[in-house]
């Protein structure tokens, strides 16, 4: 038993932290938030060149062939830096789905380009307000073409390819759903950029007007593959959330040391001190749940589904908790555009819904605990 990342993994984490401190200070995040560029192209290219994007992609498909534990520590640093790049869509979701269910040809064709960053991928599943469930997926697949719309699609405006959850058989059940791979740079695609709570990660509506598509995995297997992909992504995104939570806590702590009121550092007021202590507690619980998630992911353990839901709930709450209280600690300054607090607040709330909201993951957690209990 050893509940810690190895020395090599911690070195990799340090390396990623230094790299991001240099290439992705919050001024870079702000540039995307405020400017017209949808993502940080130079950073994206750099992450590809450093091998960070391909860390968990096998060498035969152009990755580094390390593993999930390595990808987890990189994800934590990306989250800490609020990196304005489509890693979660392209790597945590699309590359993972292709690894799990793609044909040999699809893997050969796309994984090397995803690993280098030359191609950006995204997952398109949402059609309606509320949770994604088989009954509200209507986008239809017929004779190798897709018709319908998905919205919102994270990174949908910048992606080159999408994996789309679509209905090949009429009805409302899960068996009628399959996953399709679509080249988004074709005439049958129309994209509209959306205004969102966190413009440092862009989102779009994508209309599919008879766009050419190819199946990923077996027909009728779409819902299962989709749910399994969400579980793996929940753990990787969970590390982004842990990284963000830690940074928001540190910002709050640093400000509490430096800001004086009533002749003393505000961190000496118990209301502030205890608020920060509670932030530390949620960040720590999330990290510990995350370590088990990372282990389950890296070993393909039977506990993966439970670990994913546990971590998702825990890290979502921790990041939201730390980001909102970080603003509180900063007082009026915390509500200014100029301070970075709102960047964390925005991102924490984007990530909180990006793979489905807390209520969905709470449900999954209880269902899974119950299934395990019954077994």
């Amino acid at each position: 038993m050893d509940f810690e990342f190895s020395a090599e993994q911690q070195q990799l984490k340090e390396q990623a932290r230094r790299y991001l401190a240099d290439k992705c200070p919050t001024t870079a995040v702000r540039a995307i938030l405020e400017g017209s560029e949808p993502f940080d192209r130079a950073l994206w290219q750099g992450l590809g060149e450093m091998g960070f994007l391909g860390a968990a992609i096998p060498e035969e498909y152009g990755g580094l062939g390390l593993g999930y534990l390595e990808l987890c520590v990189i994800a934590e640093e990306l989250g800490r830096a609020l990196a304005p790049v489509p890693v979660s869509s392209s790597i945590f979701l699309v590359a993972e789905i292709l690894k799990a269910a793609g044909s040999e040809e699809q893997k050969q064709r796309w994984l090397p380009k995803l690993a280098s960053g030359e191609v950006i991928g995204t997952l398109a599943s949402v059609e309606a307000t509320g949770s994604v469930r088989p009954s509200n997926v209507a986008l239809s697949a017929k004779a190798g073409t897709l018709t319908g719309a998905k919205s919102p699609v994270l990174d949908g405006d910048i992606a080159d390819i999408a994996i789309v959850l679509a209905r090949h058989a009429p009805g409302k059940d899960a068996q009628g759903l399959s996953l399709y791979l679509v080249d988004l740079n074709q005439s049958g695609i129309e994209r509209t950029v959306l205004d969102t709570i966190d413009p440092s990660r862009s989102q779009a509506k994508i209309a599919f007007n008879g766009a050419a598509a190819e199946l990923v995995g077996a027909a009728g297997d779409g819902w299962r593959l989709y749910e399994e992909a969400l579980d793996r992504a929940a753990i990787l995104t969970g590390f982004e959330q842990i990284g963000g939570a830690d940074k928001a806590l540190e910002m709050g702590r640093d400000y509490a040391l430096q800001r004086f009121a009533f002749g003393r550092a505000i961190g000496s007021f118990q209301a502030i001190k205890h608020m920060l202590a509670d932030m530390y507690v949620s960040a720590t619980l999330a990290r510990s749940n995350g370590y088990f998630g990372a282990y389950a992911l890296s070993t393909g353990s039977a506990d993966l589904a439970e670990a994913a839901a546990t971590m998702r709930v825990s890290s979502t709450k921790a990041f939201q908790h730390c980001a909102k209280n970080n603003i509180q600690v900063h007082g009026g300054m915390g509500f200014t555009w100029a301070m970075d607090c709102h960047l964390y607040y925005r991102r924490s709330n984007l990530l909180a819904v990006s793979l489905g909201g807390l209520n969905e993951w709470e449900d999954k957690l209880i269902d899974r605990l119950r299934a395990k209990n019954a077994a």
């Binding site: 509940f3 190895s6 118990q270 205890h274 920060l276 202590a277 619980l285 370590y291 209880i366």
Partner: protein
């Protein structure tokens, strides 16, 4: 990152499991599995007698106080082996309640600071469960503010003479020994004038008065000292070094109370699987119930894995640090919230605390009445948050009105 046993750990686990299977008091198992929070009930058998018998059996076979050195009655095991033992001992571990303070706090303090002769004589008896120890720290004037204590120890030749009062001393009424912190110099700032001792609880001049607790039980006591005479050989650490010595105890206290503490999720989960709500659905299928259950499930597993991370740090040779304060902080309020929620779901029947009538043998009712203590004993929630804020996050100390002032000049009202 590996949650599986190494071959060596697996062998150790197999050995522990085989020994437990062959030797554990299986006739007590049904009671131990049912027994709730804040005490065990063994169908009329004497819990202390059964606890001592199990402890002695473990000791004789070399399974007591695993992490202690062999010469003091332990097994010289690694922190991980101790975790494995605890997992394997499972429900039988509930028998060890009365030994926690001795094994977890007093023993390690005596081991670090006691004279060699006393260690060789007393620690094996403690490990064997022959002696029970208590912790004589808190006083009417000083619980959170422990260093504000007033019990005096005055030098008289080779002896010390103790006068004063302790309070909230758990188990003093059944303990043979105790560790005691006293004030030996009132003319210096409060942390500097303290000295620690160990003593037999039947030393002349010691008077123990049980206190009836809010939940009706009597686990803790007042202990009065009236010219109690102790030889200097019963001193722990140097004169005036009592604060430093007491930190050994408090650090170990946090580790032994907090780590591995259950936040109470399994019980409420079981209950919600069975309970039908007004609309005919099972509680566990209700969205609002699920949201709460998920929160407690995450705290439960978060604490478990935080504890395991602490053990890993310990195996790497790191000391148990202030970050271990989170165990009791999280578990205490979770246990209380869960108890209140369970009663709420039980409706008007929630008020009934008769184990023969109430759901799950009135587990939640007992938990309701005991859990306020968890948020106080061994450091209140507020003190734990101070520790996390100051010692983990590096925030400034509280403003103190007594800083740098000689103890006897500190305002008291």
């Amino acid at each position: 990152m590996n949650f599986d046993d190494t071959p060596h750990e697996a062998a150790f686990r197999a050995e522990a499991r085989a020994w437990i299977q062959a030797n554990a008091p299986t006739h007590l198992l049904p009671y131990l599995e049912k027994s709730g929070y804040g005490g065990i009930e063994l169908g009329g058998l004497d819990p202390m007698k059964e606890a001592k018998a199990w402890q002695k059996k473990k000791y004789d076979a070399g399974w007591a106080c695993l992490h202690w050195p062999k010469e003091y009655g332990g097994r010289g095991s690694s922190p991980i082996e101790r975790v494995i033992w605890n997992q394997e001992e499972g429900p039988y571990g509930a028998l060890s309640g009365s030994f926690i303070i001795g094994h977890g706090m007093c023993g390690p303090t005596v081991m670090d600071w006691g004279p060699e002769e006393a260690k060789r004589e007393l620690l094996p008896r403690l490990a064997a469960g022959e002696d029970i120890w208590c912790q004589l720290f808190s006083e009417p004037a000083g619980g959170s503010d422990l260093a504000g204590l007033r019990t005096k120890a005055e030098r008289d030749g080779d002896d010390w003479v103790i006068n004063g009062q302790k309070i909230w001393t758990s188990g003093a009424h059944y303990s043979q020994w105790g560790i005691l912190i006293t004030r030996t110099d009132p003319d210096v700032p409060k942390h500097k004038g303290l000295t620690m001792f160990f003593l037999r609880m039947d030393t002349p001049g010691v008077r123990i008065v049980p206190i009836k607790q809010a939940n009706g039980q009597s686990g803790f006591n007042e202990v009065y000292f009236d010219n109690v005479r102790l030889p200097d050989s019963q001193r722990l650490g140097g004169v005036g070094e009592g604060w430093k010595v007491s930190l050994t105890t408090l650090m170990n206290e946090r580790l032994s109370i907090g780590s591995g503490m259950s936040a109470g999720f399994p019980d409420i989960f079981e209950f919600c699987k069975e309970l039908e709500l007004a609309d005919g659905t099972l509680a566990i299928n209700d969205r609002g119930v699920r949201s709460k259950l998920a929160e407690w499930a995450c705290r439960q597993s978060g604490l478990k894995y935080t504890g395991m991370r602490a053990i890993s740090a310990l195996s790497r040779g790191e000391n148990p640090g202030p970050e271990n304060s989170i165990g009791k902080l999280v578990a205490g309020s979770s246990l209380q919230e869960i108890a209140m929620f369970a009663l709420d779901l039980q409706g008007q029947a929630g008020a009934v605390s008769d184990p023969k009538l109430a759901t799950m043998a009135a587990k939640f009712q007992a938990q309701l009445l005991r859990s306020p203590a968890t948020r106080v004993e061994g450091g209140t929630d507020e003190i734990l948050r101070n520790i996390i804020g100051e010692r983990v996050l590096g925030l400034p100390d509280d403003m103190r009105a007594d800083k740098g002032i000689a103890f006897n000049k500190i305002p008291t009202a």
